[in-house]
C-alpha cells in the first residue's frame, strides 16, 4: 500500500479547480503551490486541468452576439414565454371541446337509430303449416317480428 501513502497528499480535481479559480485562502494556496512543485503527477494534472478550462473558455467565447441589434423595449403585461404557453393552452382546450362535441353527436345519433328499431318481441308461428307426414326439411316456418308498439315490422316465411 505504499503507492496509496505516497499519493495521500495529492490533490483532488476539486482542489485543482478551486486553485485555478483562486477561490482559496492564502495559507492553503501556499501549501498547494509547495505540493505542485514537489509532485510531478499533480503538476501534470494541474496543467491538464488548466488546459481544459482555457479550451472551454476559448470555445465559448466564440459565441458572438455583437452583431445583434438591441430592440426597443416594449412594455407588455404578460411575459412572452407565458403568452406562448397560454396560446397553446387555449388551443388544447379548443381541440378537446371540438372532439367532445363531435363524439357526443355521434353517440346521440347512434342511440336514436337504435331506439327506432327497438325489437321487443319475436313471434314464431309454425302451427298452420305443420304436416306430420312430411319430413322436417319440407316444413314451412313463419317468423313475425313485432316492435314495442305492437306493429309488425317484418315477416319471414321460410321453407325449411
Amino acid at each position: 500500500m505504499k503507492w496509496k501513502d505516497n499519493n495521500s497528499k495529492c490533490m483532488s480535481d476539486e482542489m485543482i479547480q478551486i486553485y485555478i479559480d483562486n477561490e482559496i485562502d492564502a495559507f492553503e494556496k501556499a501549501g498547494m503551490e509547495k505540493h505542485f512543485a514537489e509532485c510531478k503527477n499533480c503538476n501534470r494534472r494541474l496543467y491538464e486541468h488548466k488546459k481544459m478550462i482555457s479550451d472551454f473558455k476559448q470555445s465559448i467565447s466564440l459565441v458572438n452576439i455583437e452583431s445583434i441589434e438591441i430592440p426597443e423595449f416594449k412594455y407588455e403585461k404578460t411575459p412572452v414565454i407565458a403568452r406562448k404557453k397560454h396560446r397553446l393552452f387555449y388551443w388544447k382546450w379548443a381541440a378537446a371541446a371540438v372532439i367532445l362535441i363531435a363524439s357526443s353527436l355521434f353517440i346521440h345519433e347512434k342511440l336514436n337509430t337504435n331506439s327506432q328499431n327497438d325489437v321487443q318481441y319475436i313471434i314464431f308461428d309454425m302451427s298452420s303449416e305443420v304436416d306430420a307426414n312430411k319430413p322436417l326439411h319440407e316444413q314451412t316456418m313463419s317468423i313475425y317480428i313485432i316492435d314495442k308498439s305492437g306493429k309488425q315490422i317484418e315477416t319471414i316465411i321460410n321453407n325449411l
Partner: protein, 158 residues
C-alpha cells in the same frame, strides 16, 4: 425611467449572450431577454431596490431559462431546422453550445455562469448549489463537457 433605459441598453447583450449560451437558440434567447427586462421594469415600477443589478439579472435570467427548459422538454422539428441552418453559418460556435445542450440542467447553468467569470459565491447564490460543492460539481461538469465534445468530434469524422 431614464435609469431603466440606460440599464436596458447596457445589459441587453449580457443577458442575451447568457440566455443564448444556455439555450443555444436565438429566438428563445431574445424572448427570455425581453421577459427579464420586463421583470426589471416591474420591479422598478414598484420602487423595489436592486442592489447588485448584474447579479440580479443573472439570477432572473437563469431562473427563466430553467423554467423555460422545464416547460419545453420536447424539441420541435423547427428547432432542428433552425439549428441546422445556424450550424452551417457558424460551425465552431455551435459545437460547445451543442455539447452543453446534451448535459443536465445543473451542469449547464454552472458552466454558463463559469464562462461569464462569476465568483463561486455568486454561483452558489444563483444556482442554489452549496458553496462548498461548487468546485467539485464544476470540475466534473467540465470533464463531462470535454468528453461530450470529443464524442461529437468523433461522430463528425465517422
Amino acid at each position: 425611467m431614464n435609469n431603466f433605459k440606460d440599464t436596458y441598453n447596457t445589459y441587453y447583450k449580457l443577458v442575451y449572450r447568457f440566455a443564448f449560451k444556455f439555450l443555444g437558440d436565438h429566438d428563445n434567447a431574445a424572448d427570455i431577454t425581453q421577459d427579464v427586462f420586463l421583470h426589471l421594469y416591474n420591479q422598478l415600477k414598484l420602487k423595489r431596490e436592486i442592489y447588485n443589478i448584474k447579479a440580479w439579472l443573472y439570477k432572473v435570467t437563469s431562473n427563466l431559462c430553467m423554467t423555460f427548459l422545464n416547460k419545453n422538454k420536447r424539441i420541435t422539428k423547427q428547432d432542428y431546422e433552425k439549428l441546422a441552418a445556424y450550424e452551417a453559418d457558424n460551425e465552431k460556435n455551435i459545437e460547445v453550445v451543442e455539447a452543453l445542450k446534451k448535459m443536465n440542467k445543473r451542469d449547464r447553468i454552472l458552466l454558463t455562469l463559469y464562462s461569464e467569470d462569476i465568483s463561486y459565491k455568486k454561483m452558489a447564490d444563483i444556482t442554489g448549489i452549496k458553496f462548498t460543492s461548487i468546485g467539485k460539481t464544476l470540475s466534473r461538469a467540465l470533464k463531462k463537457l470535454k468528453h461530450e465534445m470529443e464524442r461529437q468530434q468523433q461522430q463528425m469524422h465517422v
